[in-house]
């Protein structure tokens, strides 16, 4: 209602009790291309749809390694994301140097959330225009975690999540299937992530090895990226799976047609 008068400064409250600049920053996240994260008991998989400015340009990297046991997927202002990645990498190295052990992802997320919050309470800075999906393995308990940060400084842990443009379709898919993720194998998790991503492509585009990107890590698995040719086998498997399901759907429909006349008779 009062959006235009109270939205110039991040330090100004709107009459509805909202910080409009922070909300606008969250809009920036929604403009970024899609990024999904899924986790099982032992692995976390991040998937991203890489955008390219034109046919001539390369696709923008969206999955970044932070440490052997932590990785992130970004949506929004890439430059802000890289600045955060640099901060996170430094924190990881520093922690390992000072304490002789890898940092707990939860600890890093706390620091990251605080860093985001600081920008929302001073008028010389602006909020970060990027949402992060952070995949991490707790080095002490050997558990898998997926976190999400947003410009507001809120930090959430998820079983599965998706951010960015057209990510609602991914979220719908994940809500339907997330309960099967806990015991899923790594390969199945990757297929789930790709399946969720498929719903996020725009219009006539499709998910290919050029614009798709997967990263995974696990209990005994360091951060690993799957891009380009390495991704093709999974895309093939996904295609196969979808083709089978379509065939099953067609079979189901035929059966239904066969039943219908009987139903009508009685």
């Amino acid at each position: 209602m009062f959006r235009n008068q109270y939205d110039t400064d991040v330090t100004v409250w709107s009459p509805e009790g909202r910080l409009l600049q922070v909300e606008y920053a969250m809009e920036s996240v929604k403009q970024g291309s899609a990024c999904v994260g899924v986790r099982s008991n032992t692995h976390v998989v991040l998937g991203a749809l890489k955008r390219s400015v034109s046919e001539l340009s390369s696709h923008q990297k969206k999955l970044l390694e932070i440490d052997d046991h932590i990785g992130i997927g970004i949506a929004g202002l890439t430059a802000d994301a890289r600045s955060l990645a640099k901060y996170m990498r430094n924190e990881c190295l520093n922690h390992k140097y000072v304490f002789g052990a890898p940092i707990t992802p939860a600890l890093l997320m706390g620091d990251l959330a605080d860093k985001h919050q600081r920008t929302t309470q001073t008028y010389v800075r602006r909020p970060f225009g990027v949402g992060l999906l952070v995949a991490g393995i707790d080095p002490q308990f050997q558990t898998a975690h997926l976190y999400q940060t947003c410009p507001s400084g809120n930090m959430y842990e998820f079983y599965a999540s998706a951010i960015g443009a057209r990510s609602q379709s991914a979220r719908t898919y994940l809500e339907k299937h997330y309960e099967s993720f806990t015991e899923a194998s790594l390969d199945d998790l990757i297929i789930h992530a790709l399946q969720a991503l498929v719903g996020c492509v725009s219009g006539d585009d499709e998910l290919t090895k050029e614009n798709g990107s997967i990263a995974f890590l696990g209990k005994d698995q360091k951060f690993t990226m799957l891009e380009g040719d390495a991704l093709q086998p999974y895309l093939d498997r996904l295609e196969l799976k979808n083709a089978e399901e379509e065939k099953d759907d067609d079979d189901d429909e035929e059966e239904k047609e066969g039943d219908a006349p009987q139903a009508m008779e009685t």
């Binding site: 390694e65 440490d67 990498r89 190295l93 390992k96 140097y97």
Partner: protein, 269 residues
């Protein structure tokens, strides 16, 4: 750490000192009679062993924890070996402390010297290499690590890491690469090197047998298995003469297929 003290002067400044002429300890005038240098103007001054024979006491930030490291470059392999004894003075602190540190799957750093400086150097290198990996999205090559190690050591030119390094690995062409360093970062790529307390025993042997110096017979390329046997012999001889070398030798052979480590027992005396 032991204090390094300069030895006391051979001639005492005052002949009426604490150690001599015991009768004069209790004689308040004794010092005064022989004193011609103006010390102890007051009577009955107790000397704590410093005024009479002053010498400089200094805290030494370094300790030498002993050991020997060797590295040899082959046509498609590198062998790097070090003993596993950690000592301080005449005491053995550990018989099983590795001097080798794996930096990438293609290179290993061997360091003798002051253990805490070695540990710190390793931490610093690990951090730098991780940052490189983040920024360049690939692992550092062996020559790059060699250069970085030299730079890192020079960074502390005026308070050096007391670390004597040998660095061995496989270069970008698949050949064995070995680099030797001094404590402040001067380095050179060499076919063969050794460092540490037993350096002087091993280098002449390797010069002759591996680098084929001062020999009249024809040089031939050695297989990595032969080099490992030569290294074992070198350490046995070194362990006989050098008190800081012994217990065990850790031998790492680096090839393009990875790193293989073996252990070889030495005399424990």
């Amino acid at each position: 750490m032991y204090d390094s003290a300069m030895p006391p002067r051979s001639k005492p400044l005052r002949s009426g000192g604490f150690n001599k002429n015991t009768s004069s300890i209790f004689d308040p005038l004794a010092g005064q009679i022989h004193n011609s240098e103006g010390y102890g103007a007051t009577l009955g001054k107790i000397d704590h062993g410093v005024t009479e024979n002053p010498y400089e006491r200094r805290f030494s930030p370094y300790d030498f924890n002993g050991g020997t490291c060797v590295a040899i470059a082959g046509s498609d392999y590198a062998v790097i070996a070090a003993d596993t004894r950690l000592s301080s003075g005449y005491e053995i602190l550990s018989r099983d402390m590795s001097k080798l540190h794996t930096l990438t799957d293609k290179c290993i750093l061997g360091s003798a010297g002051c253990k805490t400086d070695v540990d710190q150097l390793r931490s610093v290198l690990d951090i730098k290499m991780k940052m490189y990996h983040h920024n360049h999205r690939k692992t550092m090559t062996t020559p790059a690590v060699a250069q970085m190690l030299g730079n890192t050591l020079y960074y502390k030119r005026f308070f050096p890491y007391y670390a004597f390094n040998v660095f061995g690995g496989i270069d970008e062409e698949g050949k064995g690469a070995v680099y030797s360093y001094d404590a402040i970062g001067s380095f050179e790529r060499t076919p063969v090197t050794a460092t540490g307390s037993g350096q002087a025993y091993i280098i002449p042997l390797l010069d002759n047998v591996i680098a084929h110096r001062n020999r009249l017979d024809e040089k031939r390329d050695l297989l990595k298995e032969e080099v490992v046997e030569i290294v074992k012999d070198a350490f046995i001889s070194c362990g006989e003469r050098d008190i800081y070398t012994g217990d065990k030798v850790e031998i790492a052979v680096i090839t393009k297929d990875g790193i293989e480590k073996t252990y070889f027992d030495l005399k424990a005396d």
